[in-house]
């Protein structure tokens, strides 16, 4: 069954976290409006704590405690299949890589699974347990799991955080290849502008909490022209002007 990529209309009036011991109530999102087109690769960025993960959790249906609305099109297709790649890989440590991927798609045949694992370059590690994997490999496995359900929509929450720059670069190109071969609408959260520019069809910038969309910018450049430092700093300046707040420089990784 080929995925039907979905369009999303988000209109969150307010998302509040009620306070717990020692922490008062926090408004994470307020007046957030966004449209994401079918098959669009949309990157959401913004300062720390601006509600990026909250937004993904709401779209994933993990968090229904908000006011506002959320709709997917085409709506006659039923609920969209959503593949979620979390900030940490969240693999089940007692299942092998293959077992983790098979869990979300029990009807998948072995050949299909093997092909998917080969696509993320994890064929050799298919029978390894998560404790035996490096950070990069665990993230490949999480990526394979998300793609295993043939998602209409892929939600990614800083999935390449805490990898070294080379490994993150390799995973980004892998992701682009996968999305080309297995089309899906992608909503990708990062606070790294270089990563955002490398991947995005369009960038949405959120304000500091309570988060709302304060700037958006389509990235029309060919993917090969995107790692030029001058282009990047020009884009950063432009986004900062649109957003009205400075855009964090790329986190320096060792």
């Amino acid at each position: 069954m080929a995925p039907v990529t979905v369009a999303i209309t988000v209109a969150i009036d307010e998302k509040r976290y009620s306070g717990r011991a020692g922490v008062g109530p926090v408004t994470a999102l307020r007046g957030l409006r966004a449209q994401i087109g079918p098959s669009e690769f949309c990157v959401v960025t913004g300062p720390s704590g601006c509600g990026k993960t909250t937004l993904l959790n709401i779209i994933a249906g993990l968090d229904r405690d908000f006011t506002g609305s959320l709709s997917f099109a085409p709506s006659d297709h039923g609920a969209p299949r959503i593949g979620y790649v979390f900030q940490s890989p969240r693999l089940l440590p007692w299942r092998t890589v293959r077992g983790n991927v098979a869990l979300v798609q029990p009807r998948a045949d072995r050949a299909g699974l093997d092909e998917l694992l080969a696509d993320v370059e994890m064929a050799a590690m298919a029978d390894a347990y998560p404790a035996q994997l490096s950070g990069g490999m665990a993230r490949r496995a999480a990526l394979a799991r998300a793609f295993a359900i043939a998602p209409d929509l892929l939600l990614m929450d800083e999935p390449f955080l805490s990898l070294d720059a080379a490994a993150a670069d390799r995973l980004r190109s892998l992701l682009l290849r996968l999305v080309t071969a297995r089309p899906a609408t992608v909503l990708f959260v990062t606070h790294d502008l270089a990563e955002a520019v490398a991947l995005a069809d369009r960038i949405l910038v959120l304000s500091p909490a309570p988060g709302r969309v304060v700037a958006e910018m389509p990235i029309a450049l060919a993917r090969t022209e995107r790692d030029d430092p001058d282009t990047l700093s020009a884009l950063r300046a432009e986004l900062a002007r649109l957003a009205g707040h400075p855009i964090e420089p790329r986190i320096q990784r060792k």
């Binding site: 249906g61 993990l62 940490s88 089940l92 440590p93």
Partner: protein
Amino acid sequence: MRLRVALAERVASLLVLLVAWEAASRWAHSRLFPGPEAVLATLADEAVRGGLLHDLGATLARVAIAFTLAMVIGTVLGIAMARSRAIDTLLDSGVVLLLNLPALVIAVLLYIWLGLTEAAAIGAVTLSKLPTVVVTLREGARTLDRDLADMAKSFDLGVWRTLRHVTLPQLAPFFLVASRTGLALIWKIVLVVELLGRPDGIGYAIQVFFQLFDVRRLIAYALAFVAVVLAAEWGVLQPLERRLARWRR
């Protein structure tokens, strides 16, 4: 190779025990302190002609039923108490009370209320073990990983598959601890309960041999019982533990 060394060590330590027993019994030179040879002969004789197998079977059946009941009820209650503050508040005093009530008191009370019945015996053993299972599994359920639960929900695994593949594996170590401590407890309590109010079982037999001062049979029955306990430990619990720990590095 390591296995063979371990086996040799085990045999050596058993031999030391046997020699010490034999020496002590020769030194005591009394009908009330039989040596290993006499006891093992009695053991074989009782197994073939006496009531050993019947009594052992009766005791094991009680252990199995009480163990299963306590594990199932205790697991359900423990998880429920971890998830709901209301249930926790409601049941906590009861659990604390049961935890500190001597098994002997539970057994006597149940025999008075239900008569000298099988239900009272099994109920008493179950109730003695139940609170430790509840407390252990409650602790386990409190440490459940919310991130994995969110993962299961976002991938739409459904209630049953989430329970089977995400929740229960996290509880497995706690379940194992509860089984272990629970079995150790049950082995001891079940004999007391049988001694007080059952017409068969190892506990009942021990009481009869006590009244007859039949130390040979007494030790023979006790040894048979210990053998079964060790078989359960080596044959079931330890392999299970290894299997559950397979994924750990």
